[in-house]
Amino acid sequence: MKRWARKLGMLVLLLVVWEAVARLGLWSPHLFPGPVKVARSLHALAADGRLGAAVLRSLGRLGRAYLISVGTGIPLGLAIARLSFFRDAVKPVVMGLQALPSICWLPLALLWFGLNDSAILFVVVMGSVLSIAIATEDGVNGIDPQLIRVAHTLGVRGPRFSFGVLIPAALPGIVTGLKLGWSFAWRALLAGELLFVSGGLGQLLTLGRELMDVPQVMAVMVAIIAIGIFVDRVFFQTVERRVRRRWGLLPSM
């Protein structure tokens, strides 16, 4: 309760200071609107459905790209952790590419796929798949060797070993990787959307800039922050906590 009060107090304080600074008129109100103006703009965006459409468009795109990332990242991570060929040959490549910020893939993506969805999907996938793979590999390497030995003595082999032992045992690590992958994907998505007419949140931001509509820019930023916090804090944190509790990694109280 007390922690919530503090959080809320801080938020209110921030808004008040923001509003006060905006009203002081140090900068032009067009360039530095207060929270009230931003909230009004946000409401307007939401009311005429522009925000909703953009959010749906962006999240739909993100969802598709993220599914591809998870679908290739986890098997890739498992392969790197368990197969010596992947460990010796593929891991250095993955590590190397991981050093490249995902937006750097965009020029290449535009040349390969043209100005369309596929280009953004490609950028988002490249931004998240490697971190998911690396986190999965970490999760598998962190498995208690005793569990692997038990699986062997029980005669657990093949797919039953992969899906019944390896993946569940590494799941706490994998979930952390998924969370990390999601935040990389989110960043890559908006970076990609900013650059051309894409109909997503990123484009809404660019549009605000082109119209010199600073309240709209800030309103979209607020929406982006809200979605980011919601998915990260509410969704992933809950899943992570559930998994860790079930696995006995947290006190069950």
């Binding site: 208690d144 062997h152 003595t153 569940p168 696995w247 006995g248």
Partner: protein, 292 residues
């Protein structure tokens, strides 16, 4: 001469008899086994051991005598660098359905309930789906864990985890059970309880058990045969059958005398490994030294 014989006859040590099992009659046969770890440490040197089906064999020795290495070689988790290990006449190459290794930790899968752990193990051993659940429940009952079927391992106490692990080991029903100090991490009371449980289950089954321990008392309470090992290099110094009816009582004076003898053997073996054999001490002295 006569008095010496009489003393020998009166002594409980007559209950020890050197084990002589020919390799033809053995279920598990270890011959000229040697193992050298990658760091050049000689864990085992020229170990010969034949185990009959249905025996309860304790590998007893101080730490570093290679008893665990020997057990892991039987389990197929360690490939020895020399000699042969075979079961039912076939050389052991890796883990197999005829043997099951139990560890010092319960090593349950933490994301599965107690019942789930047993069912998973049964599935891995190819038990038909319909049979898994009743069989799992039956073995949970046998280790007195009824009511905890749907509990997750981390919600169980140490002793209960071990019982669940024992249930899993017994449920898969391999003819040989290999146990690596399974009760080493339990408190004294739980430990005695687990020993009784294991013994009563073993008496009702026809399993061969190879049990590693460094606890002389535990070895004498449980086993039909004690194999005393010594370190540097790991080897067998004595292989004795224990002719004492089961269930045994921990307070039995014959047991304490036998325990004293085994402790002396272990101490001598360890002393011998350090270079010189300690001088033979008078009995009163050794008794005083053995009190714990």
């Amino acid at each position: 001469m006569f008095r010496a014989l009489l003393a020998r006859w009166k002594s409980s040590l007559r209950l020890f008899e050197p084990a002589q099992v020919s390799s033809q009659r053995a279920q598990i046969s270890v011959s000229a086994l040697g193992h050298r770890y990658a760091n050049k440490v000689v864990a085992l040197k020229d170990v010969n051991l034949n185990i009959r089906a249905g025996e309860f064999v304790c590998l007893l020795g101080p730490s570093g005598c290679g008893k665990s290495t020997l057990l892991y070689a039987l389990a197929g988790h360690v490939v020895p660098t020399g000699g042969t290990v075979s079961i039912e006449g076939k050389p052991i190459r890796g883990p197999g359905p005829d043997r099951l290794l139990m560890f010092q930790e319960a090593a349950l899968f933490p994301w599965m309930t107690v019942l789930g752990n047993l069912k998973f193990a049964l599935a891995a051993r190819g038990v038909p789906r319909a049979e898994r659940e009743p069989r799992a429940r039956e073995f949970i009952r046998r280790v007195q864990l009824s009511g905890f079927e749907d509990t997750l391992p981390h919600e169980l106490s140490g002793g209960m985890k071990m019982r669940a692990s024992l249930a899993r080991a017994l449920a898969v029903d391999s003819s040989v059970l290999l146990m690596d100090e399974p009760f080493g991490s339990l408190d004294a009371q739980t430990r005695v309880h687990m020993q009784e449980l294991l013994q009563s289950i073993w008496l009702r089954s026809s399993k061969t058990v190879v049990f590693v321990t460094h606890d002389v008392h535990e070895a004498l309470m449980l086993s039909t045969r004690v194999v005393v090992m010594a370190p540097r290099p790991g080897r067998i110094v004595k292989d004795l059958e224990v002719h004492l009816a089961m269930p045994r009582s921990g307070e039995d004076p014959r047991l304490s005398e036998m325990a004293r003898y085994l402790r002396r053997l272990m101490r001598e073996a360890e002393g011998g490994a350090r270079g010189a054999l300690p001088p033979h001490r008078p009995r009163a002295d050794s008794e005083a030294g053995l009190r714990h």
